[in-house]
Symmetry: C2
Subunit: 354 residues, 2 copies
């Protein structure tokens, strides 16, 4: 019998992209697809592959008969409900931060460590955070060839990483400031937002995003670090299987709707050239090389948003650091950075239940 797939959080920002992805697949291995969301969204109708499905409320019984349950919900909902789904016999593929660093939960990027899915003592597999995921296909491919040792990363993160609320906020801010000649005096953007009924206190972000960049992502974790920066470090180590990988990350929110970008400075154990790196990227089906800087060709978020691959450009040998590449990478944080990677894990699991 074909496996039963459940999608928990079907009506959220990532859930909506997940349904797009399922609808876009040529074929799917699923018998039934079950949409699960909060009681508030239950009863809503959503068309999936030509069939109108009714969203059901989250409950233990909702997982009965489910083989694979994908979770696109906040950490605390996953923390409570992924184990319930697992106890009902489903494999939970969780896109929250609740289980990523749990030793008994594999953290999987299929093109990097697909082999890890089989060992899942808790019946849970975790999907990495979107910032880490945005560079992982590229880094994993380089690591296989050159052995990664050190990573210094600065991010340019899209507002949709903070969900629909983040996107709505950026749109509202830009409408409020456009055409007013702002951004030239300290506080003028902040004042204009207040005047437009958009005080920073009501924003999901701690500062204006219009005409601004904000060096803060996630919650404060002590010693100067925000959670997103520590996730990049800890999740990269776990996914790549390099427990002593040296990592420093600075995570910065920028006024981009969707698609995270990262400036990556990566040092390897072995010699690496631009030519060799290009070959590695070209051989990786989920990486697209966009790298002709002489002709102004490089990836930018607005040019690649909505795509599945990881886009890589600006590849160059660091002038003063041996065995080191600098490059720029863009990945859609809602697709590969969230929904797509989760779905790819589910697809990989499907044959077990067929």
């Amino acid at each position: 019998m074909a496996p039963v797939l459940a999608l928990v959080g079907a009506t959220g920002a990532v859930g909506t992209v997940m349904i797009d992805i399922i609808n876009g697949r040529e074929t799917v291995p699923w018998g039934e697809i079950r949409l699960i969301a909060s009681a508030r969204s239950a009863g809503k109708k959503i068309t999936v592959r030509g069939e109108e499905l009714t969203v059901v409320a989250l409950s233990p019984e909702a997982f009965d008969g489910v083989d694979i349950a994908m979770f696109d919900v906040p950490d605390e909902i996953s923390a409570e409900w992924a184990p319930i789904a697992a106890s009902r016999g489903a494999v939970a593929v969780d896109n929250s931060g609740a289980f990523r660093m749990d030793d008994e939960v594999p953290l999987v990027v299929p093109e990097v460590n697909a082999d890890k899915v089989t060992s899942r003592p808790k019946g849970i597999i975790a999907n990495p955070n979107c910032t880490t995921l945005s560079m992982m296909a590229a880094l994993g491919a380089l690591h296989r060839e050159f052995e990664l040792k050190e990573l210094v990363v600065a991010s340019y993160q899209a507002v949709s990483g903070a969900g629909k609320e983040g996107v709505d906020r950026l749109y509202a801010e830009l409408e409020a400031v456009a055409g007013k000649g702002l951004g030239v005096r300290a506080g003028d953007v902040r004042e204009a937002l207040e005047a437009a009924g958009l005080p920073i206190a009501d924003s999901p972000f701690p500062a204006a995003l219009a005409f601004n960049v904000v060096p803060s992502a996630g919650s404060y974790k002590g010693d100067g670090w925000y959670s997103e920066e520590l996730k990049v470090r800890n999740e990269s180590r776990k996914i790549l299987g390099i427990p002593d990988l040296k990592v420093s990350a600075t995570c910065v929110r920028v006024p981009v709707v969707t698609t995270h970008s990262l400036a990556v400075h990566a040092t390897f154990a072995r010699e690496v050239t631009v030519e060799a790196a290009h070959k590695v990227f070209e051989a990786q089906p989920t990486v697209v090389l966009v790298d002709d800087p002489e002709n102004g060709v490089f990836p930018t978020p607005a040019d690649v948003v909505g795509g599945d691959p990881t886009y890589v450009g600006r590849v160059r040998q660091a002038l003063d650091f041996p065995n080191t590449l600098d490059f720029f990478v863009c990945g859609d944080n809602l697709r590969k950075g969230a929904a797509l990677n989760t779905y790819e894990i589910a697809e990989q699991l499907a044959p077990e239940f067929s």
Copy 2:
């Protein structure tokens, strides 16, 4: 007699900020202030410290009697005219890229290497590029205390780095896209700009800036590097007096009007703690520490634009790299990044001519 100051490029983007700075000073050491610009702008009246001055056209004679001539003009104009000013007896303080790496021209940031102004065999002193300058007060202070060895930098550069044309372009782009729900599909921003009569081909930037970041600044210099990235390396080495400083920079344009930001990963010869770094920054009059991440306090460009100091926050010890700090720095690229530093050099020279 009080020295005569000339401002070449008085009507440009940086020149305008320069006049603001001169007007904002409590006292100035100048006898005469002479405004010089292209023939097109000659005759224009500009009020400087309560006096209406008439802009004169650039000519060799315009420098007669001038002691210090500040140049805020494109590279090729400086390359031609700074030596002419010098041959007429003025010291040229040049904000272009024409002479920065010339061995016979000092490259000066007063709070870092003020002592270099006295040796100027060509009669020219160069002002660093705005990206390097935006972090130099902070790095110079740290270097004195801990001895800088390595620098990995990613920039978030404002559009005014590309002059008034860059600012006008960002404003026009945002007006064209605001309220349209764009940035969610590859190319939708580009298409909207084309539909609004703003094709990328007409932009000073090689891609959209609205809802985007662009990993390109300056001209292409080979081996994957753009000029701005090489300037950060070469100028940092020269200003700090560390010819073998290891530097990797990735320069990225962001939709911010004015104020460059940089994510800095700096490795020192000696042990460095956050507390020690805070002390160094607090002791540096031109640096303002904005660093209470637990309470969401850090510098952002829109919150500090228009200010003279270098704003530093997010200071933390790298977890895996010895003697290494990560921090985030914001500096107004038109003030300290251009006009202010040039003027500070001129102020430092004034007593020589009094």
